[in-house]
């Protein structure tokens, strides 16, 4: 390899290149593209009263529950409203797990022969509720409240309450078709924040962190 020669040649080519004016435009346009990227990161539509469901997906782990509760049977096959069991959702920050008595209300007579129901009955008789595992868990410093989200997306919109599962699905996914619930949305801050921006939610940090 004729290094020396090569060097001279390349340097003279470069010299040509450098003397051309348009190189400056090229360089500055690279700079401009790079410089606006923070704008691009956050760009999205402005707040509006209509509902923009949050996107995003998450491949949740399969959580082992004491009883493999089949959400599909209850919601899809039997058409039970989410808030029938998760009754606190409209009144409190937590949606609540139904008390065992509520399960037993039906299952004293329904499907008593199924092993899962027998397990439930066992818990009931031992007077200890099943130790459910938390699937949708946000960090302790996040103060999410179901009550206000339902107000925003259901009650303020005159959204039919019987279809509330569509709103629940924003964050909990298609529970209707799940057996044991698992996480299908990221539930992380960026995700929450995007939804807040799209739906005109508060942008104040203290809205969630106290």
């Amino acid at each position: 390899m004729a290094v020396n020669k090569q060097n001279h040649k390349s340097s003279s080519r470069l010299k040509l290149l450098l003397e051309k004016r348009h190189i400056w435009f090229a360089m500055l346009s690279i700079a401009a593209v790079l410089a606006v990227y923070p704008f691009v990161v956050m760009s999205s539509s402005s707040s509006a009263p209509e509902i923009v469901p949050p996107g995003g997906s998450h491949n949740g782990e399969n959580v082992e529950q004491p009883i493999e509760f089949p959400h599909n049977t209850h919601v899809k096959d039997n058409g039970i409203n989410c808030m029938y069991c998760h009754t606190y959702a409209r009144r409190s920050k937590v949606a609540g797990i139904p008390p065992t008595s509520k399960c037993m209300g039906c299952h004293k007579v329904i499907a008593t022969d199924k092993p899962r129901i027998q397990k439930l009955t066992e818990y009931w008789e031992q007077k200890s509720p099943p130790p459910w595992k938390k699937v949708h868990d946000v960090p302790d410093f996040v103060h999410f409240t179901h009550e206000k989200h339902l107000k925003r997306f259901v009650f303020d919109q005159d959204f039919p309450v019987e279809n509330v599962k569509e709103v629940c699905a924003f964050c909990h996914g298609d529970v209707e078709n799940m057996t044991v619930a698992h996480k299908v949305k990221p539930l992380n801050m960026g995700w929450c924040k995007t939804c807040h921006i799209n739906n005109g939610g508060p942008g104040d940090c203290w809205a969630c962190h106290k």
Partner: protein, 175 residues
Amino acid sequence: MSKHCVMGLFSDFDEAFAAISDIRKTKVPGVSVDDVTLKSPIEHPEIEEVLGERPVHVQKFTLFGAIFGVTFGFFFLAGAQATFLVQPQGGKAVVPLPSNFVLMYEMLIFFAVWCTFFAYLFLSGLLRKRHTLYSEKVSLDQVGILIDVDEDCLEPIKDLFKRHKALEIREEVLR
């Protein structure tokens, strides 16, 4: 006709200087001063008297880096500040220029320095495979002259080197 590369080592710079000026003067056909490379343990800017002016372009990259740094700095900072959902303002500007100037200044220098560095690596032909015709004595105290010549000019050059009391002459065939 194959190309050859010759290197002569000289005990001091004055000898090398004289040798190059001889090359320039004698005008051996097929040998151009442009093909001469001086290898020295220290810098000899005065060699340009005989080698001819060879321009340096590093500063242009530096300028580019500086301009890029300062514009990027501004847009980056302003963009980031504008995208805070809640503006920590307390009645103060969202894009506060005085404090942004500080960071723009730093970014100017940051990019300028790095651009200079990479331009230097690029323009001085570093980071390449080393020429085989290299004597470790160049890094000690001797001065080398490297010249690419056609085969037929080889001897005159060697003679010229010898005339100038070259301590050692090496050659190599270029492919």
